[in-house]
């Protein structure tokens, strides 16, 4: 990919030089991420067409505008779909009785998440980010508690992510589609929470219980940077996701 990188005279600067030397690109990237100032250097040193080339190996940026928001959603749906696909293969799920309610619930959610991921992939077409490689080494798929608490984390994260990203959407068509999907994510989050503790479907950690604040009795939201910091802990080194423009 490095052969597609090229000097850009107008933005040329010392900090960007290593970009043209493939062998040092990784070390430059680590350096650039170390401080905000250096990150700015990276951004000014790379034109749009350069970004994808660099990001392909080290990290994945979702892009700008509505495409950025949809890719952001696609990344999270990919992660969720991969998680539930692993759940279906793990000892906790395979050990459930054939008629167990939890078996039906996880089988259904796995399908929903795969459908969501496929929806975004199709909607984004050529603009879609690559297929991400997850890293679920922190999750014990043979253990009910580990699976349920991880599922709760993914679902609540997904809902908070949509809440925090809605403001970046400009095309109302995407707003409604995202709403149709996140509405089902909220239903997932509620049942997973109820499986852990009955009547915890909207505990105080997901709803702002203030009666006076501007967000009283609404779902909490998280900005992309907060969400991705968590999501990236479940992604392989080659698949770390960033959303530099969604701030």
């Amino acid at each position: 990919m490095s052969d597609t990188l090229r000097p850009n005279s107008s933005d040329d600067n010392q900090g960007a030089q290593p970009l043209y030397v493939p062998i040092k690109r990784r070390s430059f990237f680590m350096y650039a991420g170390a401080t905000a100032g250096a990150t700015a250097l990276l951004l000014t040193g790379c034109k749009d067409d350069d970004d994808s080339s660099i990001d392909a190996k080290t990290t994945v940026d979702v892009g700008v505008g509505d495409v950025g928001v949809l890719n952001y959603a696609y990344a999270l749906e990919q992660l969720e779909a991969a998680f539930y696909a692993e759940v279906l293969k793990g000892g906790y799920f395979t050990g459930l009785a054939p008629a167990a309610a939890e078996r039906q619930i996880f089988a259904d959610i796995a399908l929903h998440e795969q459908i969501h991921a496929d929806f975004f992939k199709t909607a984004l077409a050529g603009n879609a980010i690559k297929a991400l490689t997850p890293n679920f080494s922190a999750i014990n798929f043979g253990d009910r508690t580990s699976v349920l608490t991880s599922a709760r984390a993914f679902e609540d994260l997904g809902v908070a992510a949509y809440n925090g990203a809605g403001r970046f959407i400009t095309d109302p068509k995407f707003l409604v589609v995202a709403g149709k999907i996140v509405s089902v994510e909220a239903r997932h989050a509620a049942i997973i929470r109820d499986l852990i503790t009955p009547n915890s479907f909207v505990a105080n950690d997901v709803i702002d219980f203030s009666t006076t604040s501007a967000t009283a009795r609404q779902e909490r939201s998280k900005l992309p940077a907060e969400v991705l910091a968590v999501a990236n802990t479940f992604l392989a080194e080659s698949s770390k996701v960033s959303a530099k423009s969604l701030v």
Partner: protein
Amino acid sequence: MKLLSLLDRLSTADAPAAAAPRRDLLHRLGQAGARAAVAALPLAAALPAQAAPTDTTLDAILLLLKLEDMLVALYTQALASPALAGAAQAAVRPDFERMLRHQQGHAQFYRTTLLTAGLTPPAAPRFDFSGRRNNAGNPELFPNVLNDYNAFLQLAQQLEDASASIYLNQVAAFATDRQLRDVVLRTQLVEARHASHVRTLRRTATASVAVKSWPSNADVVPSPAVVVPSPAGASTPPVSIYSFEANEVQLVSATTAVPFLAVLTGATAVQFVALSEAFDEPLPTAQANALLNIFG
């Protein structure tokens, strides 16, 4: 609409664009262009069933306020009635007390929004969940809702599902107002969590009913069902609110459907019911108003 013309007068006599956010809201609420902008949404072109969202933001707020008032009334009345007051329901009372607090918070938000925009919020109607419209001479559409836990749950499920769907459709009316839109989106999710929970309660009740936590074509169909006018017109019989949920086709443009059958393979080989389960669907404004008018 009286309120709207009042609003128009207020907004034309109003201060500069840099005024306080609430005044800004008032200005935007009264924008004459809002109607046209909403009607021109690409989604409207893509989905004929939702092709006529002619609401302004104010219409949407009034609709959502009535919806929240209805849910407040449902839980207030049920908590004071045999449906939830019996010893057998002691374990689930906190669930409904919690949902009631949410709905009260939502209703209060819309009232405050209207008040700060200089409007007098309408009082909550006197809701009647028997379907008799406060007239004992009318036929009882939903018997025993306040006397029987299972009858109550069945209606609560339909109204919470409808609430999530009504919100989804109204989101478009807030397209130009990001602050309000943010609130509406987030409130919608609380309604979706409620709906999921009520469905879970039905499934786990002593008299268990086979419903999933999301609307599914595999659900046991509610009877009596809450019905609304068919989108096909007045000459067609009314339809269940779940007829909108049954949609299995998702469009990525006006004419292109996502080919799920082609992309879903292997371990997650497609099951048709999952296609409609995976998306909650909007309930159009005409149907939403008709639903609210059944009860108040």
